[in-house]
Amino acid sequence: MKKSIGDNMIPKGWTFEQGLELVKKAGYEGIELWLGDVPWFQMNTSDAQVTELRRKVENAGLLVSNVSTGLHWETPLSARDPKVRAQAIRIVEREIETAQLLGCDAVLVVAGLVTEEVPYNEVYLRCLEAMHQLAPAAEKTHVKIGCENCNSEHRFLISPREFWTFLNEVNSPYVGLHFDVGNIHDTGFAEQWIEIHGARITRVHLKDPLKKRGRCGDQPVYTNLFLGDNNWPAIRAALKKVGYDGWLIAEMEARYKFALDQQFYDTAVAMQRLIDGKL
C-alpha cells in the first residue's frame, strides 16, 4: 500500500510546487488532485495545463493517486433539474479525462444527495442512471469511478449492504467504492465494510472519527489518525484479508491550527505505521 494526501490540504497561499515539495519531504508517494477545490485544477483548466500539473508532480518524485471532486455537493448527480444533472455528468466526464492525462486510474464521485426536498428513492434511481451512463466511458478509458461512502453526510447508501445492492445494480467492473474509513461515524464499522466490498474498493480515504460526538455546530467530528474511535488493527487486517494493496489517501477534515505543515509529517508517519502493522 502507498501513501497519498489531498492537494486541498496544501496551506492557503502556497503554490502547487511548494505543496508538492512538502508532500514529498513528509514521506508520501503520491498526491490526490481535487478538481474544483484548488486554484490550479478547475473545470476550465486546459488539457495542456493538466499535463503540466502531471509534469510537476513527477518532477517532485510523486505520482497522482487519483482525481477527486467536491463539486457534486452543489451540483449533484441526483438533482431534480435535468440541466443540473447534465452538469454533474460533465464533471465526472472531466474527472475521467483529467485522470487519464494525469496518469492515474481512479476518480472519486459523491453519488447522490438526499435532502428534505429530494427524497431517497428519487436519488437512488437518478444515481443508478448516472452510473449506467458513465460506466461505458470509465470502461473505455480504464479509469474506475469510485462512489464515496459519505454516509450520514449525504444520507444515502448509509449501510454497507445498501451500497452493495447499489453497485450490483450498476453492474460494471469500472464502478466501485471509494471507501472512507472515517465517514461511517457510529453507523457501523469500517472493517466490516472492507470485508463486504473487497475487490470493489477503488481507493481508501483515511481519517479518524469521534463516534460519540456527532455533528455539533462547527466542531469537527474527525481527528488525527489514532486519536479517534476507529479500530485500526482491525482495519489493517481487513485490508490484508481482501487483498487491498492500493493507495491510502489522507483526507483530514480536522486541520492543525498552527504549524500546518506538521500535520503532513505526523499523518504520513501514522499512515506508515498502519501500512507496516506497527500498531
Binding site: R80, P82, E116, E117, P119, N121, L125, R126
Partner: protein, 221 residues
Amino acid sequence: MGSLALTAGGLCLPGAGAPSIEDPWEERECVVLDLGAECALRESLHGYFTVVGESSVCSAGEFVERRHHPRFVIVPGAGVMDELTASALLECLDAGGTVVVESGAGFWASREFGEHQRMLKRFFDLTVTAPLDLWSENRSVPYVEYSWPCEVMIRDFGRAVPVRAKKESEEVIGLAGGLPVALRKRVDNGSLIFLGSPLGPALRAGDSEARAWLATVSSVI
C-alpha cells in the same frame, strides 16, 4: 364507460397490454404521449411507463397521424407543443375523453417559460404563473394535497407551476402549501386535468399514493 381495473403492483388499463396485430390503436384506451424534444421532463415520462406500460406510449407524430381518440391521454412533462398535437388532443376532448397535461417546465428560465405559458393559454385556455420553488422558504410538508378524485398526498417536485381557476367550471384539485397547482375543467364533452407539480417522478420512485391517484382518475372517466 366501463371500469378500469387496478391490478396488484401496477395499473391495468384497457389496452395497456400487448396490442393486437391487426390494428394496435383500436384496443388502446389509454395513451401516454411522448412529446419528444418538447417533453421538458423525460424522467416523468418514464414514471408513467412504469405504471401504465410502455405499449401505451406513442410519439406525438404517430398520435396526430392516426387521429384515434383514446379515452385517456396523459401528456407527461409538457414543455411546448405544436398546433397539430394540440388539435389532436382537443379532438380527444371533444370525443368525450380525458386529457392530463402535466407541466414539465418548472425549471425553465423565464423566457422559455413564457412560451410554455402562452402554449397552455392558447390551446387549453389555462392560466399559469411563473414556477415557484416550493422549498425556498421554510417548507416543512413536502406534499401536494389532492382533493379529487380522491384525497391523497403526493410528494411535490420542488418546482411547481401554479394555476388559476378563473371560471366556475374550473375546479382546483391540488394544493401545495395552499397554492393551487392542479386543476380540472370541462372542455367540450371531455375533461382536462392540469398538473403543475409533476406526478411522473413520484410514480417512478414508487409513491403508492401517486399510483392510487392515477388509478382512481382512470376509473372515474
